[in-house]
Amino acid sequence: MMPKKSASSTIPAAPSLATSSPATSTPPEEKKAAGVTFDTWRRGWQRSLQTLWSLSKVLVPLVMLTSILDQSGWLVTIGHACAPLLAWMGLPGEASVGLFLGFTANLYGAIGAATPLNLTVKQATIFGIMLVVAHGLPLEGVVLSRSGAPGVTLTVMRLLLGMALALLVNLLWPGL
């Protein structure tokens, strides 16, 4: 789920208020009893399709782009440039495109870019650990700043931490 940006301006007040996401415009109910109704399923279904649609708009071009880069051989060229750095983390150089997309945009782009690479379990896990800690840095950094936390410092910390963890897991995990 990628929450819409507008939610950061109209701040969700309480956990239960997070219900009324900007995507589906359910009428604001003052006091709602706890319980799963048909409406829950309907809302979940609708929202998942909306999310999927908005993601596809990002995902499809990115997967296609990487696939074309891959088939044309350019991905290998880019990969060679980044290979020494990524080798420390046990990743092939071609993963750099996915990492860059993940750091700057979101996880969906990163996964899209990494799909054609056929990573091993170890590589995919390292890739995942690094990105799960550090992703969508510009947007999430702004969100953190808006909440009053030191966004820039935390963002730098995430990036360094993600890389450190990738190095560490690569060192501790024997084999490929």
Binding site: M1, P15, A34, T40, V60, V132, G148, L165
Partner: protein, 175 residues
């Protein structure tokens, strides 16, 4: 280098379609599941449950709400609750920084690691590393950055949090 554009485009389009399909398989159940969590108000209840544990992070019980919301629904919602609590004076700037620290590392914990199983990653390892690192680093950071909570104060939190049962309202959590 000759380059059959239709073939290349065709292959890339197929890859993209496969990817969207996999994403649908993961996302649709997750989002429906999150809707169910919301309507059962499990997060509100969980916040009450975890309130007392917040003292290990040297935080007041109220901090459990933004933490849990961020962990389940994502950083955007967690930060939203954070702003609100700060505005109401329930968290000061330093406490808010500690909550932000945790959430920066670990948020949307149901969804994020699951996405990487598409690539064949080890789900449990990703989850364990992320939670482990977030908890350990936040404990260390809080111990250094925040003053210790007074004993009497934390006992009052215990009492408030364990007092009555039944569905929680925010009012009960913050009398």
């Amino acid at each position: 280098m000759t380059f059959d554009i239709t073939a290349v485009l065709g292959i890339s389009l197929m890859e993209a379609a496969k990817q969207v399909g996999k994403m649908a398989l993961i996302l649709i159940p997750i989002i429906i599941f999150l809707e169910i969590l919301r309507d059962l108000q499990i997060v509100d209840r969980g916040a009450r449950f975890f309130g007392p544990a917040m003292r290990y992070f040297r935080l007041p019980g109220e901090a459990a709400i933004p933490l849990l919301v961020g962990l389940v629904f994502g950083i955007l919602y967690g930060a939203g609750v954070l702003v609100q609590e700060a505005r109401e004076g329930k968290l000061n700037k330093r406490q808010l920084t500690v909550v932000g620290f945790f959430l920066a590392i670990n948020h949307a914990a149901i969804e994020d690691p699951l996405l990487f199983t598409i690539l064949g990653a080890n789900y449990l390892l990703i989850q364990a590393v992320r939670f482990g690192v977030a908890i350990v680093l936040t404990l260390a950071f809080a111990a250094w950055y925040l003053p210790p909570i007074k004993r009497e104060q934390s006992e009052r939190q215990w009492a408030a949090a364990t007092e009555s049962s039944g569905p929680v309202s925010r009012k009960e959590l913050h009398p």
